[in-house]
Subunit: 409 residues, 2 copies
């Protein structure tokens, strides 16, 4: 194993588990004698280009802090949404990055992120193959969207799914109290992949009945006429209805509901999210009391409601990334595969980044019923293990305590 | 103590603690030999008028269910927003209600609710004084708004405040990750009383600094020019800013921000909430990335994040209501008073409903700073004890288990 320092950075949208992965990478890197200093890159690849890197040991060598990091949501090292440029401008970007690597004797680079971050790993690896260099590039997955390929599920998704299922259940309880017909439309994240909306199916009551009456994913065409029919059908047996829509639901022409020009037809201006548009249509065509709820960023940063399985696996995938790097594998992302024997267990490995970057894993067709408005048992079997177990956050003054970089810089 | 049955009902908006109070009333009523059957009125006074009452013993005699009820959000018995009518129509309503009381030998009526519910207790008591009858009417407070008089704080408020403070802290962590100027505007409930917005001040970091940079209550005039100045001042030292607004913030002419006609001036139509309007103004006058987040119903139904103090006190106030009723006090609401010796402790009592109904307790002037955009230490001293301690909900299939009436009827 080559001797040198390592650099860890985070990128893309925050999740409640991305810091557990950082803790895992740090913890394993610390045990590798070949690895000297452990640096953190600030604000992902964008900050690293500017040379914004810090020595993590002063903060994370304290066991108490490392533990706190595991339940701190959002990205401890900051984040970016930056796509490396191609062409001549791209060349100068790569040169800047490799200069930072060289100056700090970085031999291992761990990038914790989603699809864009894996594209960054791919590009760095390809640049190095073409231009020389001896940095080991390892991608470590994170995204609440669960849309990465070659992995059973992504770290961060389980906690987001647990938050969404819990929230849907609580909203259903809330909306059921009045003796009147009503509909609540809950919008969850997911532009192209409907995994988060699908996880609303986990909002089960004590008898195993789903409390989300209708669920719509971006994978299927959303049709207003069919939707109104669906609602009327549910209304035959139920007075208070919960509808879950993905922010990415699209009409037959491929246009997003949320970008529809509904101003004239429904009397509303640009209302923002998909739920607001669906709310307007319900008001016009059904006329019962309706409320749109956008869960918004809470679904990706609720560190107070974590899936223990998600957090533990996120940590372990971080450790795995160091193991993979120590074996000299570069240009890979660490992955998980689920055993097919009925009991939940995963094995961790590493997969060529070329098979992962710039691909998107959407919800399989048979995870939704024929009417495309409810999840199947197959979907529940896939989702259910991912939200199991709780990790109580450390509390201070009655609210969760976080490990924040602003306390150290 | 007179012998008879008792009737418990719930009214007004859901909270995460209203069922803990129901559990308290039930539990204490069960121990009173003078009380025979314990009935639950469905959908408050509106349902009782229709005779919709059920015997609660079959469900709540099980200890397991009573325990589950304590952490089940929303109203187990359903709710209503119904104001008893005056005049001749009102007479027929009272007659209907007293007929239900008589037919079921109801001698004790406990109404768990907020301001409107206390008005109901007042009207029932006054009707009885004028027309005869021997029902003991006791109001039991609940409201996340904390706007009832003669009580230190209302059951339900502590859990909502804990949820809001936690959420603001998580949103602040989420919004801080990108290396860019940004503002997030979070809207919390509270039409006339800003207690919930004030509780955002509890979103403290490890060093005790507040993570909500600016807080605006309905008690103070909201002025856009001053607001923009406030934001620019914060921007001098901070790039990512969290603004908290109460849904009830009003302009100098008394009109609600959320009802402002901003269509022409900001290019947006009727956008709904206060935060959306503030977002539009920031976009126009400051131009940084801005996001409006409406916490919506989650702040009143998040049974997964409870203040142990709130839940325990809510239960005890329910018990106290039975004690007060057993002493024959009618036309009262049970209340709490806080000791003034520095340590948090409360004593429970009962106060004449005439002093409470149709009054509203707003945030005292000295709970906000001079600039009316941040809480004072006095406010923190008041709020902090109310969010202490956690009660983990019972979990099933990875999400909180609830006690739902639909499983029993």
């Amino acid at each position: 194993m080559k001797i040198g320092n390592c650099l860890i950075a985070q990128s893309g949208g925050p999740t409640a588990a991305i810091n557990a992965t950082l803790a895992g990478v740090y913890s394993a890197a610390k045990k590798q004698f070949a690895i000297g200093r452990i640096y953190g890159g600030m604000n992902g690849i964008e900050g690293i280009m500017k040379g914004n890197i810090i020595d993590l040991s002063s903060v994370l060598d304290k066991d108490e802090n490392l533990k706190l990091l595991k339940t701190t949501p959002s990205s401890f090292l900051g984040s970016c949404r930056y796509k490396l440029k191609g062409g001549s401008e791209g060349q100068s970007e790569f040169q800047k990055l490799f200069k930072v690597f060289e100056e700090n004797n970085i031999k291992y680079f761990f990038y914790i992120g989603g699809n864009d971050s894996m594209d960054t790993i791919l590009q760095l690896e390809e640049y190095q193959v073409a231009n020389g260099g001896d940095v080991t590039f390892v991608g470590v997955p994170k995204t609440i969207d669960n849309d990465l390929c070659c992995i059973d599920h992504t770290p961060g998704f389980g906690s987001a799914a647990k938050y969404i299922a819990t929230t849907i259940k609580e909203i259903a309880a809330d909306t059921a109290v009045y003796d009147m017909d009503s509909i609540v439309v809950v919008e969850v994240m997911g532009r192209n992949a409907g995994w988060l909306a699908l996880s609303a199916a986990l909002a089960l009551d004590s008898k195993g009945r789903c409390m989300a009456d209708l669920i719509y994913l971006p994978e299927n065409v959303f049709d207003y006429d069919k939707f109104i029919e669906d609602v009327k059908k549910v209304q035959q047996t139920k007075r208070q209805i919960v509808v879950v829509v993905s922010e990415g639901i699209k009409l037959a022409d491929g246009s997003l509901i949320s970008e529809a020009k509904t101003k004239d037809s429904f009397g509303h201006g640009q209302l923002g999210g998909a739920a607001k548009h669906v709310e307007a249509v319900i008001q016009e065509r059904i006329g019962v009391k309706v409320r749109a709820v956008e869960i918004n960023v809470l679904q990706r940063c609720a560190g107070h409601l974590l899936s223990a399985r998600d957090i533990n696996e996120s940590f372990m995938l971080g450790e795995k990334a160091v193991e993979v790097a120590s074996e000299g594998k570069s240009g890979v992302m660490v992955t998980t595969e689920r055993a097919r024997n009925g009991f939940y267990s995963i094995t961790m490995g590493a997969t060529d980044i070329r098979l992962i970057a710039n691909k998107e894993k959407t919800v399989p067709e048979d995870y939704m019923n024929e009417a495309k408005n409810a999840a199947t048992q197959k979907a529940l079997d896939y989702l259910m293990p991912l939200i199991q177990g709780e990790i109580a956050p450390v509390m201070q003054n009655g609210i969760p305590k976080h490990l924040l970089l602003r306390d150290y810089i």
